[in-house]
């Protein structure tokens, strides 16, 4: 009954090297595609030009990193950018429970035809690229667009409301709402799958004890989804600085730029990505280090709080 390749540790438990060997081919793949390319981080120390290769490019040391913090106005800009990034990330985390709720409530719909249609149709926004989303938003919310026409016809407002080109912190909320619209149906799929995996016996015995449907939801369904939710939450926290660029790029204009510019967009806007590969590598390096640190820090906190780590 011993698993192949088992050895005995000093704790007396048998550790299996055989199991490890089973996954080695996959680890090799991962090493090749994810770890090996990391040698490219050395580009951040050079003024790398692809035509000249690393050998022909000039060595500049920490110049790129210094440039990021070189002047007060720059620091202030980066400060604002980080604020935007963190604000939007936190709003995202605050609303991260919505897909769970969505899945739980959808599960309460008993008619399969409605449930399946809702599930399919609510995933549609996920497939519409942000460029097109902006086009639709423009058509609806511009000063001569549908929403303003309705508002004016109903007499609610006299002048068109400037939905798209007004600034201020409310931009964060608007962007979060768009993200929710786009990702809710798709994100709920994971939880729907998890719900179908819940042992029916749990429900049966609770019903025998006289539980109402709300109590079933609250005490069985949701707790069963918590492990998945926590892991995904951890992953989002580690992605704190990576909001992506496309969504904010299409919506930005001179009036909301101060509050819409997240880190990825800022990097794109100041043209760093285009011509200077080295600067891009430097920034990518910093973001990676921060993300990984966040990952392990939050994991450690979770371990202290819950008693077991998430990863």
């Amino acid at each position: 009954m011993r698993a192949p390749g088992a050895t005995t540790t000093r704790h007396g438990r048998k550790t299996s090297v055989g199991m490890f060997l089973c996954i080695v081919p996959f680890l090799v793949l991962m090493f090749l595609f994810s770890y090996l390319p990391l040698y490219g981080w050395v580009y951040s120390l050079f003024d790398y030009k692809p035509a000249l290769g690393i050998g022909g490019s000039e060595f500049v040391g920490l110049q790129w990193f210094e440039m990021l913090v070189s002047s007060p106005t720059q620091m202030q800009q980066i400060g604002q950018v980080l604020l935007n990034t963190l604000a939007i990330s936190f709003l995202g985390i605050a609303t991260s429970f919505l897909p769970v709720l969505f899945a739980v409530l959808l599960n309460e719909i008993k008619a399969p035809w409605f449930r399946n249609s809702v599930q399919t149709l609510t995933t549609l926004p996920n497939f519409i690229s942000w460029v097109l989303v902006y086009m639709i938003a423009f058509s609806l919310f511009t000063s001569t667009g549908l929403v303003n026409n309705i508002l004016q016809d109903l007499g609610i407002v006299d002048d068109p409301v400037r939905f798209l080109d007004s600034g201020g912190p409310k931009v964060w909320i608007v962007m979060t709402l768009w993200s929710i619209w786009k990702g809710l149906g798709w994100g709920a799929i994971i939880y729907l799958a998890a719900i179908t995996g819940i042992d029916p016996a749990l429900y049966e015995s609770a019903r025998i004890d006289g539980a109402s449907r709300f109590q079933l939801m609250r005490y069985i369904t949701i707790p069963q989804l918590i492990p998945t939710y926590l892991v995904l939450l951890l992953l989002s926290v580690a992605n704190l600085l990576n909001n992506g660029m496309e969504q904010y790029f299409v919506f930005q204009n001179a009036f909301n730029k101060d509050h819409i510019q997240v880190l990825d967009l800022y990097v794109y806007n100041i043209g760093i990505m285009g011509s200077s590969l080295s600067m891009a590598t430097a920034i990518g390096m910093l973001k990676s280090i921060i993300s990984v640190s966040l990952l392990f820090t939050v994991n450690w906190i979770a371990k202290r709080v819950r008693g077991e780590s998430l990863v």
Partner: protein, 592 residues
């Protein structure tokens, strides 16, 4: 007996000569090339007359708008002449910005024929060994040698002949490179300008009451939407707000980084100078907006929406001829006398680019890993020949297409469009006959999309320019009530350029082919920061609610820009502007 022998001898001699010419003449497109001028472009050079093996070469076309193997009538010509297919690799189409360029360069093979920018890009590729030294083929390139000065200038700093210039011409560098209409100008809806009574426009700001009058004359367009004289867009904002720069060009300035340099070198301004041209135009737009003359959707719309508005007649002013005219000056509209035409601002001196003496920004080069560099060199050489210029230039650049297909030399010795040519250029498109390659004409246009020789240059075979829009025969064809009306009003001028030259309102910057040195990484980073500030503040200023806010924004912009390194970048740009001017003055001295 004697006669017969002489006759036989003569007959044999003729036969011999006949067979010899038959052996050496090129394979021409059968039948359809009923041209009188035989093509001597490849016979004059030292290249082989024909190639046996068919090859397909990779063309890295940084300006190309089509990706894949070239098809249609142009590819037939190339196949017949060089037994070659062109596989176009187009970063514009493949997307991803510089990604394609970077990965191909990193792999060491950019392409067999390469179209890229001169200056730093070319230098790096030479240093990296990606370009071929074509010195051994250059002596055979007779057509290119016509522009030898430009070739030498391009390769002056390197050892060998790596790059071949584009946009060369026989024009003097002090002549404008634009053929008919200037690049910039105040193009107004002529019919509405007429309704307003053709008021005189003394200076830029006088446009405002004219705009108002025009808007009042037609407050709603045909589709029911409100009309606005000004509708702006942000898509092309670079070093500054693009739309603000355009009226500045009416006074002879062009941008070089953050510097506004006058064509004749009499003034250099920084963008953020108080009371400078940039602030002046910002104020102009601000005032326009206060009067309700600016489309409020400007801040959030993109190019496509804007273009559709022009097509629908919702916008009444255009910075460039090719925006308003190509959208709105349709056959229908011009027949009714409606369309965009150049208006005169009395004190204007519109900036024009002189024909570049040593060629334009792009160059052609042969890749170092090309398998048959001789053939590619022959192809490049053909692109400089009259036949090549006509075939390679796209119709949007004014090249006339292959002789015999779209145009021919008429009985009077003047070139004129054929029926087919008329169908293509005036009707939009036509199906090419099978013997020329088949397919639609537009689909068969050369995908290289680079004018090797400027169409405005003179065709040695016909004595007039390659650009068919300048041919008198064409101008007769396209007269419309609109153009007639305009011409009358503007002293009988046939085109915008003609009028401006006559009125002395064109400031031609001599084409010195000056390339500014590349930004150092420090300057580049500063520039990117500053320009983001400038663009953002400019938009806010145009749409500011009152003058107080306008002034506040301006001073805030100046201080923030200063904090991000504006002064350093400006100093660098000023230096370059002075160098550019020195080069221009030198050209002026030589050719003026």
């Amino acid at each position: 007996m004697k006669h017969r022998r002489t006759a036989a001898f003569v007959a044999v001699a003729f036969a011999a000569v006949g067979t010899l010419t038959a052996c050496t003449s090129d394979a021409e497109p059968p039948s359809a090339s009923g041209t009188t001028a035989t093509d001597t472009s490849t016979q004059a050079t030292g290249f082989p007359e024909a190639w046996d093996q068919e090859i397909e070469i990779d063309v890295f076309g940084s300006l190309s708008n089509y990706m894949g193997v070239q098809e249609g009538w142009f590819s037939k010509i190339v196949k017949d002449k060089f037994n070659m297919r062109l596989n176009i690799i187009a970063p514009n189409v493949a997307g991803g910005g510089d990604t394609l360029y970077n990965t191909r360069v990193a792999a060491g093979d950019l392409g067999d024929l390469i179209v890229i920018d001169k200056g730093q890009q070319m230098d790096e590729l030479i240093e990296g060994g990606l370009l071929l030294d074509a010195s051994e083929y250059y002596p055979s390139m007779a057509n290119t040698a016509v522009f030898d000065a430009a070739v030498q200038n391009l390769n002056a700093e390197v050892d060998g002949t790596y790059g071949f210039p584009t946009q060369v011409s026989t024009l003097l560098p002090t002549q404008p490179s634009e053929a008919l209409e200037p690049t910039f100008g105040a193009y107004l809806r002529w019919d509405l300008y007429e309704k307003a009574g053709f008021p005189e426009i003394g200076t830029l700001e006088d446009l405002l009451p004219v705009f108002k009058a025009m808007q009042d004359a037609e407050p709603t367009a045909a589709n029911g939407a409100r009309t606005y004289p000004l509708s702006l867009f942000a898509d092309w904002d670079g070093n500054m707000m693009n739309n603000v720069k355009q009226p500045i060009t009416y006074y002879g300035y062009d941008e070089l980084g953050f510097v506004l340099a006058k064509a004749d070198g009499s003034d250099f301004q920084g963008l953020l100078d108080d009371d400078g041209m940039y602030e002046r135009v910002l104020k102009f737009y601000f005032d326009a907006n206060q009067q309700g003359l600016v489309d409020p959707e400007s801040t959030t719309q993109n190019w496509d929406t804007l273009f559709a508005k022009y097509q629908n007649g919702q916008v009444l002013y255009s910075f460039w001829p090719w925006l308003g005219q190509s959208a709105f000056n349709t056959e229908e509209n011009t027949a009714e006398g409606k369309g965009f035409m150049l208006a005169e601002i009395k004190d204007q001196e519109i900036f024009a680019y002189g024909a570049e003496l040593f060629g334009g920004k792009q160059i052609l080069a042969i890749g170092s890993r090309a398998e048959d560099p001789e053939r590619i060199a022959a192809f490049v050489d053909w692109l400089y020949s009259p036949e090549g210029v006509n075939a390679n230039g796209s119709q949007t650049m004014g090249a006339a297409g292959p002789e015999g297909l779209t145009w021919e030399v008429a009985s009077g010795g003047e070139p004129a469009l054929t029926d087919f040519g008329r169908e293509v250029f005036l009707g939009g498109d036509a199906t090419v006959p099978e013997e020329w390659g088949g397919g639609s004409f537009i689909d068969g246009v050369s995908a290289l999309n680079v004018a090797v020789v400027l169409p405005a240059s003179e065709n040695p075979a016909t004595g007039v320019a390659f650009n068919y829009t300048t041919w008198p025969s064409f101008q007769e064809l396209v007269e419309t009530p609109l153009s007639v009306n305009w011409s009358e009003r503007m002293g009988g001028a046939a085109s915008g350029i003609e009028f401006l030259v006559a009125a002395n309102q064109l400031a031609v910057a001599p084409g010195a082919s000056y390339t500014a040195p590349a930004d150092s990484s420090q300057i580049e980073a500063q520039r990117n920061q500053v320009k983001a500030e400038i663009v953002q503040a400019s938009w806010q200023m145009v749409f500011a609610s009152n003058e107080g806010e306008f002034d506040n924004l301006w001073s805030t912009l100046q201080s923030r820009a200063a904090g991000l390194g504006y002064e350093d970048v400006l100093a660098f740009d000023m230096e370059n502007a002075q160098a550019q001017n020195a080069a221009r003055q030198a050209i002026l001295a030589e050719f003026g």
